[in-house]
Subunit: 127 residues, 2 copies
Amino acid sequence: MTRLQASHIFTPMVERREAKLSEIFYALSDPTRRAIIGLLAERPHTVTELLEPFPVSLNAISKHIKALEKVGLIDREIKGRIHMCHLNTAPMNEAYRWLGGYEKFWSGSLDKLEKLLNSRAKNRHGK
Amino acid sequence: MTRLQASHIFTPMVERREAKLSEIFYALSDPTRRAIIGLLAERPHTVTELLEPFPVSLNAISKHIKALEKVGLIDREIKGRIHMCHLNTAPMNEAYRWLGGYEKFWSGSLDKLEKLLNSRAKNRHGK
DNA sequence: GCAAAAGTCAACCTATAGGTTGACAATATT
DNA sequence: AATATTGTCAACCTATAGGTTGACTTTTGC
């Protein structure tokens, strides 16, 4: 995941959103992390429960969880020595919508595509 | 982007799809690459045209383009010394659908969520 | 009270990403 | 033919990711 340096182009707000998008896509680019998300989609898991399917150390999983937590994809509920991890899909929504912006290209409708291009041309001047 | 090592869990086919997903998400995790995609969504661009908005070297952009090309997001049409880059959104579709699998969580319908959980429980046994 | 269990933190290793600069190859231009 | 333009390739640098091991903290069970 790369920090954004092309500050010339974006307003601070957009820049922040861009950075967030980068973080989310990056978090999702790891197969182990995606698998963790898959497990948490069924039900909350403890850290050791999340460890079980993977041939890595507890520390490695702990790091992945921390990474997912950092981008908001996991909420941690601590009860004594047990850390219960809950999935929070909200951040995915942003990535989903970004990709959705290009859905017009692959879902075929020429009308939609034209609309897209027009709206882009307009925004061009709004800056 | 990480290589998948938990081969224990996945069939070769699934493993390959997982690897592809990782590549795509990783490609999208870079803000410059996303911006390039944005430019190409408007119209095809040459390499130097793609360079123009960014405060980096031509080589850096060339690398990004190569990276996007490698995951299939860019097609290159070479005419003499000009490399015309075209956007190919198809690979995004896969990422989009993966995320869409979790849409039920954030779009609120409890019914859908229950269906999701049931279908997952079934697949559990199908392996 | 003591040992096991659940996790984190810190230090380390290795691979790779993204950036740079400096040649180079090939096509256009004049 | 000489030069400028377009772009790649190769070598290098630095930062960081993901993995490891080892020590440590806190809670829990006996």
